[in-house]
């Protein structure tokens, strides 16, 4: 039995690096400090859904094969292809991503990562208007106004609040944990009072009525001292439940709401009474709170990138932050999902100049989301082979896109059996990055962190980096043979 400290968790963009693991008999026996997803991930290395041997499709069925055969067949498919796609990359380390770019360049393929279906739109907006942002510690030390817009950290980034924002102690700002606890107690008390009322024991003690926490009407809560937590969403999420103020926006109307706020920040008058279902008067109070804070921040998620207007939502959200910086200090940050999707963007960018959707078919990097994004390539049915690594597009892409992916030879590299490996043609098992393989990942705020190897991979299972290197070597061999033959 051994203990390992300061382990980085390879699940979400929070990349919490304070995980303590207990290893017994070569298996993770206990996980301390992590969230539920973190625990599930560290325990998953030993579960029954693990892939342990390469598989290849014969007569419609997946049958076991060797790494040598799987690598050679994969290389043959890629070397022959006229327009292959190489997709995924977000749940592996930057070391493997580097090899991935080289492989895509060598085979003249379209290289894309999962940002395309999560924060790709955010990147497009950043390319149009830039982004005033900071690292997460800066928020912990300084932010007194925290806004989560179209994201739900309680479910998707469970420790975000406790490590970086509302519930942390910084140099200049303190944790709101106690006040949150009081609020919970008050809410429990309110329930009790209500139940007593129902039972007829208490009758209308209005003078002691505790106001409900979240209503569209901004309460005096926006004037309180210390950190303030605001959630904007189309539905009351778990995070909205704990917020000081929850603003419910009509679905698909975030764009209008942000533009309305921007106009008010610029002291413009609006010819309408309400915007996106919110009275202008409430918005004015929100704007006052934004302007009067010392350091504000907006975190945003799929609620903005995936709903109508997509990247234009982000465009104006960032523009709002630019405007607010004329009045006070404000930052904005996307809540990145996969633990190393930021790394994929980072590595792709330094090697090719572009963060995702890089098309190498002309022998140099070319980028135009909409044209060179994998989802569009699949929907237009242009590709003739696919390599999927460290992601599960069959679960995450719309059906029509998956149809074309499945129609062509499909290589899948993944530690686990998932929807994509179930339908693939060559399945190559890999070690779990951050559990069975060390490497590097980039946190949502671009801070690089080391991933640890805490247990051995199943016997004979190779890492993503090694598998890609072998395929690359094999592709080069095939190409030079072809040259000689010609």
């Amino acid at each position: 039995m051994s203990k390992i400290n300061s382990v980085t968790c390879p699940v979400c963009g929070c990349l919490c690096d304070d995980i303590e693991l207990t290893i017994a008999d070569g298996i993770v026996a206990q996980v301390k400090n992590g969230c539920a997803m973190c625990e599930a991930k560290f325990f998953s290395h030993s579960n029954e859904h693990r892939l342990k041997t390469p598989l290849i499709r014969k007569d419609g069925k997946l049958v076991p094969t060797t790494y040598t055969v799987a690598v050679r067949k994969s290389a043959e498919i890629l070397a022959k292809a006229n327009y292959p796609i190489l997709y995924g990359w977000s749940s592996t380390d930057s070391e493997a991503q580097r090899v991935g770019v080289e492989l895509a360049e060598e085979v003249g393929g379209v290289l894309d990562n999962t940002a395309v279906v999560c924060h790709g739109p955010s990147i497009l907006s950043v390319q149009e208007v830039g982004i005033p942002t900071c690292t997460l510690g800066q928020i912990r030390h300084r932010a007194d106004l925290l806004i989560y817009w179209g994201c739900n950290p309680w479910s998707a980034h469970p420790r975000h609040l406790e490590r970086y924002t509302a519930f942390t102690d910084g140099r200049f700002e303190n944790s709101e944990w106690m006040s949150y606890l009081n609020k919970v107690k008050a809410a429990a008390g309110r329930k009790k009072i209500k139940s007593l009322e129902r039972k007829g024991i208490l009758k209308h003690r209005r003078e002691r009525e505790i106001p409900t926490v979240s209503d569209n009407k901004p309460t005096e809560i926006l004037d309180k001292k210390g950190r303030k937590l605001i959630v904007v969403d189309v539905r009351k999420s778990m995070t909205a439940e704990i917020a000081d103020y929850f603003l419910q926006v009509k679905p698909g109307k975030d764009y209008e709401l942000i533009q309305g706020i921007r106009a008010l920040v610029r002291d413009q008058e609006l010819d309408v009474e309400e915007v996106a279902g919110v009275p202008v008067e409430y918005l004015q109070q929100l704007v006052d709170a934004m302007i009067s804070c010392d350091f504000g921040v907006i975190f945003f998620g799929m609620g903005l990138t995936q709903s109508p207007s997509k990247f234009r939502n982000i465009d104006v959200a960032i523009s709002l932050i630019r405007d607010l910086n004329m009045r006070t200090k404000f930052a904005i940050m996307p809540m990145r999902g996969h633990f190393n999707v930021t790394g994929a963007n980072t590595v792709f960018t330094w090697q090719s100049g572009y963060p995702y959707a890089v098309d190498f078919s002309l022998g140099y990097p070319r980028y135009n989301p909409g044209e060179t994004t994998v989802v569009d390539v699949l929907l237009r049915q242009e590709s003739d082979a696919g390599l999927v690594i460290a992601s599960d597009p069959v679960s995450n892409f719309p059906r029509k896109a998956v149809e074309h992916l499945v129609k062509n030879p499909l290589i899948v590299i993944d530690p686990h059996m998932n929807a994509t490996s179930l339908v693939g043609d060559i399945i190559i098992p890999s070690s779990i990055v951050g559990v069975e393989k060390e490497g590097t990942a980039y946190r949502m705020d671009h801070v690089p962190l080391p991933l640890k190897k805490v247990v051995d991979p199943p016997k004979g299972v190779l890492s993503d980096e090694e598998i890609l290197n072998r395929i690359l070597k094999e592709v080069r061999k095939i190409k030079s043979n072809r040259l000689e033959a010609a």
Binding site: D17, Q127, C134, G137, G353
Partner: protein, 563 residues
């Protein structure tokens, strides 16, 4: 096989060689006394100019800021792409080339060693990962330490020894090379959207001034016996009238004992030599600055020369980038880093017909020409801030040829022409001077003993240019000169021929040079600091350092410190 470069015109200022016809002998990766000719590969350099490999003291080529710059500028890449070849990787330019392309383009110009001058310690792993992917060059990088809380706190306490130990620790764990200071105090203030406006402004929440930081770290630099001086980006950079701040800055460092050697390197000095009250009355303060530097020995500097082109500005000076954003309204990136620094990025198009840009262009050249001693002022563009490094040959032509600079001058905004003193300056740099400002001087300022010269024992880094100094008067035939310096006839690094006549022949990995600090007392990080770590940063102490795993070709230099 040994290599013999025969009969070239050799310029090696560190060894006092000024255009003599000589042979240079190379064995393995070093310059040697001689080799046996018949066993060697011969490069016939008859009629060619032979320089040591180029050294760039200040060029933003890697790391979080540079890469974010790349990310926000697809339109900059689209127009400048590079196809893959059988030996090279593909990539893009223009103002912030992708990593491989950066290496190739430097190599084609004869550069072999470059310094990446800006690295947030928290993101140091990123910088090193990128440096690993920049081939063809030896590299080093400077961590940003001027606004680091532990520096501010120890200076506030007045405990320079403790400060020095922290700095030593930081240099070592970030695998850094020098102390970089950017707008001291301004970056901490920017955490709440404020700035400092003179070297004696109080820094909010810390009760010290920029003066305290600069003097403190200059002393720390001495205590640690670091090879380079403090590397300083001044307060008020980019603000009209800031030449006075720059003079104050240099004066405040006069008291640091120097033994006739520099104690401070003021980088991209052009941006810190502005006179006038506002953009309307904007003019050059270069004469005053140059006058001061000519009379003092404790300062070295580099130009930060403006190029008229569309480029991308990026600096840790967040408040300065915000000012640029307000001026241009262009896309704006700000990126503050907890307890350490800030940063910003703005694309910027310098235009000849913009009076301010035109005067800035003049300031850079005035500085380089008015500072008499070429060992004190080096050629840079603060790549990519004032222009991409690929424009270096243009600058060399302006420095070496009055005719060249007047050809550009005539096309400037008329108001700028009237304000400029450039036409009154007749000085033209010789090839020997050019060798100083592009390699020898920079290597010396960095104290890189095996770089920037061709003496026995030096690294075998050589740039050979297709230029016959006996036949070509570079002041007159500046276009020929410029062309020769755009693509070398040969670039040799570590004894290998990497480029020939504008073509990359092979890809080679460079080294990463860093300081292995040997303090008298073992640098010990107390439990208290480890605890502080959790309070100050959002990462664990154990996950903060850059391990050697992150450096492909590690080349540590052992430094014995006095603390």
């Amino acid at each position: 096989m040994d290599l013999l470069i025969k009969n070239g015109f050799v310029y090696d200022p560190i060894n006092g060689i000024n255009g003599e016809r000589m042979d240079i002998a190379i064995r393995n990766n070093k310059i040697v006394e001689s080799v046996i000719e018949k066993n060697s590969k011969i490069i016939d350099a008859t009629g060619l100019t032979v320089f040591p490999g180029g050294v760039d003291i200040h060029t933003h080529i890697a790391g979080s800021e540079v890469n974010t710059g790349r990310l926000v500028r697809p339109e900059d890449h689209e127009k400048d792409f590079v196809r893959k070849t059988s030996v090279t990787r593909s990539g893009v330019g223009y103002s912030i080339p992708s990593t491989f392309t950066t290496g190739y383009r430097y190599s084609l110009m004869g550069y072999t060693t470059v310094m990446n001058p800006s690295m947030a310690a928290l993101e140091a792993k990123h910088t090193h990962e990128e440096l690993n992917d920049i081939p063809m060059l030896d590299k080093a990088t400077y961590p940003l330490l001027g606004d680091w809380w532990l520096v501010l706190e120890t200076i506030q306490k007045g405990d320079l020894e403790e400060c020095a130990r922290y700095v030593a620790w930081m240099l070592e764990i970030t695998k850094g090379y020098a102390i970089k200071i950017v707008n001291p105090g301004g970056l901490e203030s920017w955490g709440f959207g404020r700035n400092v406006h003179s070297i004696d402004d109080q820094i909010p929440n810390f009760g010290i001034t920029p003066r305290d930081i600069m003097c403190g770290l200059a002393k720390v630099n001495k205590m640690l016996n670091l090879p380079h001086t403090i590397h300083l980006h001044t307060n008020n950079l980019g603000v009209p009238g800031n030449y006075e701040t720059t003079l104050d800055t240099m004066k405040c460092l006069e008291s640091i004992p120097s033994n006739g050697k520099p104690v401070v390197h003021i980088t991209h000095l052009q941006f810190s030599s502005f006179a006038g009250e506002d953009w309307g009355s904007f003019r050059s303060g270069a004469a005053e600055i140059a006058g001061y530097i000519n009379n003092h020995d404790h300062v070295s500097c580099d130009m930060g020369q403006i190029i008229f082109t569309d480029t991308t500005t990026m600096t840790a000076d967040g408040p300065f980038e915000y000012t640029l954003y307000q001026l241009s309204g262009h896309k704006w990136v700000n990126s503050d880093v907890e307890t350490e620094t800030s940063g910003g990025i703005i694309p910027f198009h310098y235009k000849r017909k913009n009076p301010v840009n035109a005067i800035q262009w003049s300031i850079g050249l005035e500085l380089a020409l008015l500072i008499k001693n070429p060992w004190k002022v080096f050629m840079t563009t603060d790549h990519p801030n004032a222009g991409p490094f690929t424009a270096y040959p243009k600058i060399l032509a302006w420095l070496a040829s009055k005719k060249a600079r007047m050809a550009t001058f005539k096309r400037l905004h008329k108001k700028a022409q009237k304000k400029s003193i450039l036409p009154s300056i007749d000085r033209e740099l010789s090839l020997y001077d050019i060798a100083i400002v592009t390699r020898a001087g920079q290597a010396k300022a960095l104290n890189l003993k095996e770089k920037g010269h061709l003496g026995v024992g030096a690294d075998a880094d050589v740039a050979i240019f297709d230029l016959n100094p006996e036949k070509v008067d570079i002041a007159n035939k500046f276009r020929t000169f410029r062309r020769a310096f755009t693509n070398t006839a040969y670039t040799i690094k570590g004894g290998k021929i990497l480029a020939k006549d504008g073509e990359i022949l092979q890809q080679a990995e460079g080294k990463t040079i860093w300081l292995d600090m040997q303090t008298k007392k073992e640098i010990e990080i107390s439990e208290e600091i480890k605890k502080k770590f959790r309070e100050y940063w959002t990462v664990e102490y154990e996950n903060y350092p850059v391990s050697e795993h992150y450096i492909k070709n590690s080349s540590p230099i052992k430094i014995k410190a006095d603390v």
